[in-house]
Point group: C2
Chain length 380, copies 2
């Protein structure tokens, strides 16, 4: 799919409210996520990475569909879906959460937004959480209404995103804290903005609340931001792997549990509240996991793109796991990867072999994230 | 996305067990369905249509993922999900069904296969029914296990598909009736075959039960079929619109109910069994629908591809609905479309206007399906 003329798939895949704007601003190829097109190519992905980490990029992430859960039992219902203790979550706060099924498998890793005491949004990774939530509600006996609102996010990410926000909203936006949200308007366009994103950089999300005004919002932000260095872009696989952020279906799926991913902090087994998967997750914690996600540095020539299959991982010839996401980081000048391996191979500095497309490569288990701005000095 | 090298989206979208085979046999572009790549282009879509209606084509439809529902309460649970009366469904039978939510909205329109008394597969359109079914099960209090098995369908469709089946399985396969299934092996490859498909032509589906043997199965079928005229291909938008078959997300979605689509036969309100959506659907039936799906013949030059947006439909200038799927049929030599319009505009021979990309076009409401093999003489 390399241009408007080629989107020959009828209306079966949705177009974002920002679709025409992204094409106008140079989107060359799209992928599909939550039944919707997402721009994935504005030219050179490495340039997009540098734009993100040095300046700022604006990304159409309308594919992050929202599930709104509202009604008298909304807070209780949301806690039922989520293993993380939400009792201290304030109105206006956001939380990164996992949603698990009865077996403790991960169904999605959304951002949860609390808009009102009893009104929440789940800002989704790539699976139909609307159906999961509505399905659970059928026999849950709780008074909730669950639907997908007309809400489409944009991400403004990168070190200059604060300046762009100031140009758009004035100084007052500067006190919006990390993982908090605010309801605002921009030229009368109804928005929620939050200090969140999928880049590990300073960043904001704009939740457009009127799909008819996507073009207008995009142009308004670019007009304010371009003089400050803002570029159109797309979520960066390089940066998110550096930050060890998960890509659902690649690094996690229904057969992966939070403990395997080292997401223990997202599971509060000791709280009183019940949630789906609690018994299974308690058993997994008690028995210990048999595999773990690790970071790998892979030797050899720079990879010329991400892995397109799950590369087998071996130790002295024996299969011990798979690489889920691999890429070359031009900043670290290393091939970095997330892999799921047998628990006994997960120790730092373990040496493994990866069956890449080009042949077997030596790899070493390292700490994640690969790049942490707080460690920049140590790296330098 | 126009070749293996361009599938730069990591491992986030799955590849079918037939992926490499389809690339080898000429697949040029892919779309995404149920989080998986599906070939959508083997060259000229019109040639693909003629291959389908004159000979036979083999299509990778592994994206039709299966949800297996098994256990002591499986039959009762499956009936709970489905508005159609399944009490007379035999082991070995298949049924086209809709799955509705509590509001009567359509979540999917799968084929249901009854493999054993208490073991079923849902062969899916494009939505995560695994999550819906698991979600409903959480508080349903029924003894069922629900998972996605390692099953990947291929479709063999077209008038010569019977000959290909005979070449593969011998004369005995000829007594497999329309919408029945059989468990078989081919060179030891474990399969279910059914006389079903998404083409309105004579056709079969092969449900591969071992993802490691996809390449082998594809080559085995092509080797037997090629001398009989079998071609590699993809599901045909032209043929399915001629047959008025639904494409989920385009012609139906969570906001569409079965009565609007004329699928009354798939809703049995008078059976004793409860199912999700029963009360809402009874209310809709009693109150009548406010909009209906219709077939349209659209005047003007042949459309050069399917509609890529929902084209507005007007009557004397007033908005009355939208075209959901439109295409030029080279056989009928007409532009044909499925549209959802206000109920009062749904009568046959009503004249409407369609806002196509090229400008307004005159359209007339006609009977669906547009092409029915049983009516060939009448057409001729």
């Amino acid at each position: 799919m390399t241009g408007s003329a080629d989107f020959g798939f009828g209306t079966q895949i949705r177009k974002s409210p920002f679709f025409e704007a992204t094409v106008r601003w140079g989107a060359r190829a799209f992928s599909v996520y939550n039944h919707m097109y997402i721009p994935r190519d504005f030219g050179d992905p490495e340039q997009n990475f540098w734009n993100l980490v040095n300046d700022a990029i604006l990304c159409d992430v309308a594919v992050e569909r929202q599930v709104e859960i509202a009604g008298p039992d909304a807070a209780r219902f949301v806690q039922m879906l989520i293993p993380r203790d939400l009792s201290g979550m304030a109105v206006g706060q956001c939380k990164y959460v996992v949603i698990t099924n009865a077996a403790g498998g991960i169904l999605n890793d959304p951002i949860l937004l609390r808009l009102e005491e009893n009104r929440f949004w789940l800002s989704l990774a790539d699976s139909d959480m609307l159906l999961w939530a509505q399905g659970v509600a059928v026999f849950a006996g709780m008074d909730v209404s669950i639907h997908e609102p007309d809400v489409s996010p944009l991400q403004l990410q990168g070190p200059k995103s604060g300046e762009v926000m100031k140009a758009l909203f004035g100084e007052s936006i500067m006190d919006l804290r990390y993982y908090w949200l605010r309801e605002v308007e921009l030229d009368g366009i109804p928005l929620v903005v939050s200090r969140t994103g999928w880049s590990s950089e300073l960043g904001y999300e704009f939740y457009l609340r009127d799909g008819a005004r996507g073009d207008e919002l995009w142009e308004r932000i670019m007009a304010a931001g371009a003089p400050l260095g803002l570029k159109p872009g797309h979520t960066s696989a390089i940066r998110r792997i550096e930050g060890a952020m998960l890509s659902y279906h690649a690094d996690a799926d229904i057969h992966t549990n939070p403990y395997e991913l080292g997401l223990d902090r997202l599971v509060n087994l000791d709280m009183e509240a019940e949630f789906i998967g609690k018994a299974a997750l308690a058993r997994i914690r008690d028995e210990g996991v048999t595999r773990r996600q690790v970071g790998l540095v892979i030797e050899g020539a720079p990879l010329d793109g991400p892995n397109t299959t799950f590369w087998p991982v071996r130790k002295r010839g024996n299969a011990v796991g798979k690489v889920t996401s691999a890429i070359h980081s031009p900043r670290l000048e290393q091939n970095i990867a997330l892999a799921m391996v047998d628990a006994e191979c997960a120790e730092l500095r373990t040496v493994l072999e990866v069956d890449a497309v080009s042949g077997p490569l030596r790899a070493t288990v390292v700490e994640r994230p690969f790049f942490d701005p707080r460690k920049t000095l140590a790296l330098a």
